[in-house]
Subunit: 355 residues, 2 copies
DNA sequence: CTGAAAGCGCTTACAG
DNA sequence: CTGAAAGCGCTTACAG
């Protein structure tokens, strides 16, 4: 009997000894409870604000937490309570120059609220995205933020029935789902309008992947601005692109080879604008002296390109922050009342009035 | 008695009903065991390859797993087994143009091995990094990959006593720790050598934050190359920078204002080279006609800068992949035998022979 | 307001 | 080779 008890008690010190040897101090909630002279339930309730607890017990627990340096184990919390305090974030590529800012905004906002983001990549494929979502679910994230991507609206709506979902880049209404979309149409209009104001009439447009709604909207904005200005639309001036620098460069080569006259280029994103700039440079065409160039997104590099690129500012950091705040609201059972700032056109040095 | 039993049994269907209503199917290991007619222990052992199991039971379990679509819950696994199959990754900024590639390499390699990366940012502050490491530990990651940063060697060595650690950007030997360092000295030498070969003698150097070992090494490489070529070192040609575009631009302005003659600039990273290029552009100096310019790192933007930047290729994607593979090796109890590729200088269009 | 107890979904000695 | 049992560190009805 005594031996058994000894053995039983020995288990704890043994564990602690091991932990100590590893330079670690895995203080558990039970230890805090013991130190404070209350039950684990009470400690848990104080931790979670789940119930009102007598002030003196609360103080004793707080003191114990401090002195022991207790940090709740999110893993155990996840198993027991069903909350892991982690939020899945589906991005297309963890190192996208475009989404980088959004990831940072998400991380900061979530971390400040005690949540951890779990980033997974979709690699621009619906299949990959679906797999990544599965990883997220198997990790029991409390919610999922989807940065655009190719998942169908139906898939997202279905997902939202089991988890709060925040999605960017589309307009979707469904229970448990909040969507956030940037006004790409207005952005496209703004950029084109800027060029028109400078006297340009022959304005080429390099499209993004037109399977994406945002690419479509930007194109629509371009057309609407031309139309509003009474400029006839010329199909020869619309070149296909896919949002990569490479495609921007190729588009310019084609445009030049086609012989169609133009005095300005509007690339549907900055990366293609950079490629276009290089394409022009190769043909000894100067920006903005010979050709005015505008981009879209205002990625970090736009400020230091040569010349600094005039572009539509896409508030990606805010996008991330707002997406995260919307998720936090959803988690709190609230209905997010948040929206993205309107597009602004940033005039830098890549455009000039038509002589 | 009957009622109790009913109530007891009702719990399961209730839960399942809820789950079903949410469109979810949280199949548990216990369900698999029941379906296969074995004990949970056996299922667990098959899952983990922890013991040899009779072929027929194994087949039955595999079949049950397939038909039920069972996915083990990593959260429960983490609690029970002490392994979470997640690896913490401490980066400085989730949206760094430089580290982006490394994060992608880490993600791909880890994901393929069934692990999930948990990215946290240090924001270039040791205090922040320490806090982020705590988040990682509280989440019970199985190991931590540290991408440079400001943590002391001692802190990392201590960390490695409780967890496998892989650190980049320094040379450190300690139990449970593997370090991976790029030959920045050689890279600095290579870039300078390229300029020397083109006939340049007055080569300015824009440093990184010299508190970082890599920045120091690059500077050392620059000096060594000059010395080897018998070129006197001129302190007026060494300008302080901090790895930002902004600082590169400022450095060039200072250099120009100082009146010190020079025909080439070696910026300790590409971002500063971009800033320097803009600074030169502002003063109507052309690259490479008037000034040759080289960078370091070969970030994505270098290929499409104008002109495309000659630079030292820093294999960041491989860095990430190798760091992840080293972690996997450490986790398997092996000693990683991995190293980074040697630096290569990439000649593009920002340099030319001195007339 | 607060405890005792059961349970979250696994893993792992402990015994066959 | 395989089960029954205990336990990982929490949370949450259930009873006071």
């Amino acid at each position: 009997m005594k031996n058994q008890k000894e053995a039983g008690r020995a288990a704890r010190p043994g564990r602690k000894a091991v932990a100590a040897a590893r330079g670690e101090g895995p203080v558990t909630l039970a230890m805090v409870a013991r130190a404070a002279g209350v039950s684990p339930s009470t400690v848990s309730r104080i931790l979670n604000g789940t119930a009102v607890v007598a002030k003196e017990k609360r103080d004793a627990v707080d003191a114990a937490i401090d002195s022991l340096g207790f940090v709740p184990n999110p893993v155990a919390r996840g198993l027991a309570g069903g909350r892991t305090l982690s939020i899945g974030v589906l991005t297309q590529s963890i190192d996208s120059p475009f989404y980088g800012g959004a990831l940072g905004g998400i991380e900061d906002t979530l971390t400040a609220a005690g949540y951890s983001p779990l980033f997974v990549s979709g690699h621009w494929s619906a299949a990959h995205e679906a797999r990544s979502i599965e990883v997220l679910r198997s990790r029991r994230v409390d919610g999922i933020i989807v940065l655009t991507g190719r998942l169908s609206d139906a898939a997202l709506t279905a997902l939202a029935t089991s988890l709060p979902v925040v999605v960017t880049g589309r307009k979707l209404k469904a229970p448990g789902l909040f969507s956030l979309s940037f006004d790409n149409f207005e952005g496209g209009r703004l950029a084109t309008h800027h060029l028109l104001q400078l006297g340009h009439r022959r304005i080429a447009f390099i499209t993004g992947d037109t399977r994406h709604p945002d690419a479509k909207e930007r194109l629509r904005g371009y057309r609407a601005a031309l139309e509003a200005a009474g400029v006839a639309h010329d199909a020869a001036l619309v070149l296909p692109g896919d949002y990569t620098e490479q495609s921007g460069q190729v588009a310019v080569e084609r445009l030049l080879d086609s012989g169609a006259p133009f005095s300005a280029i509007f690339a549907a994103n900055d990366q293609m604008a950079f490629g276009a700039a290089l394409g022009l440079h190769r043909r000894r065409l100067r920006v903005p002296q010979d050709v005015s160039l505008v981009g879209f997104d205002d990625v970090a590099g736009a400020l230091f390109s040569i010349p600094p690129l005039s572009t539509v500012h896409h508030p990606v950091v805010e996008l991330g922050q707002i997406a995260a705040r919307a998720m936090l609201a959803l988690l709190a059972g609230e209905t997010p009342a948040l929206a993205l700032p309107a597009p602004r056109f940033i005039v830098r040095e890549s455009t000039r009035a038509l002589a």
